[in-house]
Subunit: 152 residues, 2 copies
């Protein structure tokens, strides 16, 4: 957890950060997504401290983005994405697209994604859920919504 908790802010970005904003959490989520689902695997893959990995996994389970499943009669577990967690993968795909574009350099993207629907190597792009046209930084106006903080 960050020192300051973001969850109480009237801001969906801040609240989302309270769930996956801690260091390592997005990378843990990525590993679980691609099937690296066990404690030892994730720890070895990321080089994360075992203490911190335990904390992060517990937090992600509490937040309902991953679930703990036994896979043996011994106390052995694997972690899987819940529906809530699977939708967080949208975030990972956008991070991937941005990192590929701005940070990959000469070598090119370390990982490519083949889209099932068209069979092509592609990347995610943002579209308006309503009209399907592109939706980026300059294409929207923010307005106060129903959950906005009351100005007392």
């Amino acid at each position: 957890m960050q020192r300051t908790k973001f969850g109480e802010m009237a801001c969906s970005i801040a609240r989302t950060l309270d769930v996956i904003g801690e260091p390592w959490s997005p990378l843990i989520l990525r590993d679980v997504w691609v099937g690296m689902s066990r404690f030892e695997q994730i720890q070895a893959d990321l080089g994360i401290s075992r203490k911190v990995l335990t904390e992060r996994l517990n937090h992600l389970v509490e937040q309902g983005v991953i679930e703990r499943h036994p896979y043996d009669r011994r106390p052995r577990y694997e972690y899987r994405l819940t529906a809530k967690g699977a939708e967080l993968v949208d975030l990972l795909m956008i991070m991937t697209a941005w990192g590929d574009r701005w940070l990959a350099g000469e070598a090119g993207p370390p990982v490519l994604y083949r889209h099932h629907a068209c069979g092509e190597i592609s990347r995610a792009d943002l579209r308006c859920a309503h009209c399907g046209e592109p939706m980026h930084a300059g294409d929207v106006d923010p307005l106060p919504g129903p959950g906005a903080a009351a100005a007392t």
Copy 2:
């Protein structure tokens, strides 16, 4: 900066985290995006420590996602998104969409976005940049790309 630097990993998610993965950075970016562009404004809005805000702003400038502009003959500055930073707003919009859906609760979203193209209140959705069909967690296969780490 996180204790462990992610930038050296062969992973665009990790590299992106090196740019905006620190606590507060996404919220600072949001403020700059919506026009809260001065040090005092951001500090008051977020309640962030001045020390940390200075560090984050410097880091974001170094990474080329925001720029420092004088707005007076006195030493007064405001921060603006660069093209690189504006594309990071995609990330914020996806965080917003996810937070609105899973964390906003009864009260509803604190902020709404009106899409210029269609004039409707909407949210961002992920589409394949190639074929335009939806692109979510289960719709892709990851493959090694040109920048993948050589297995020595």
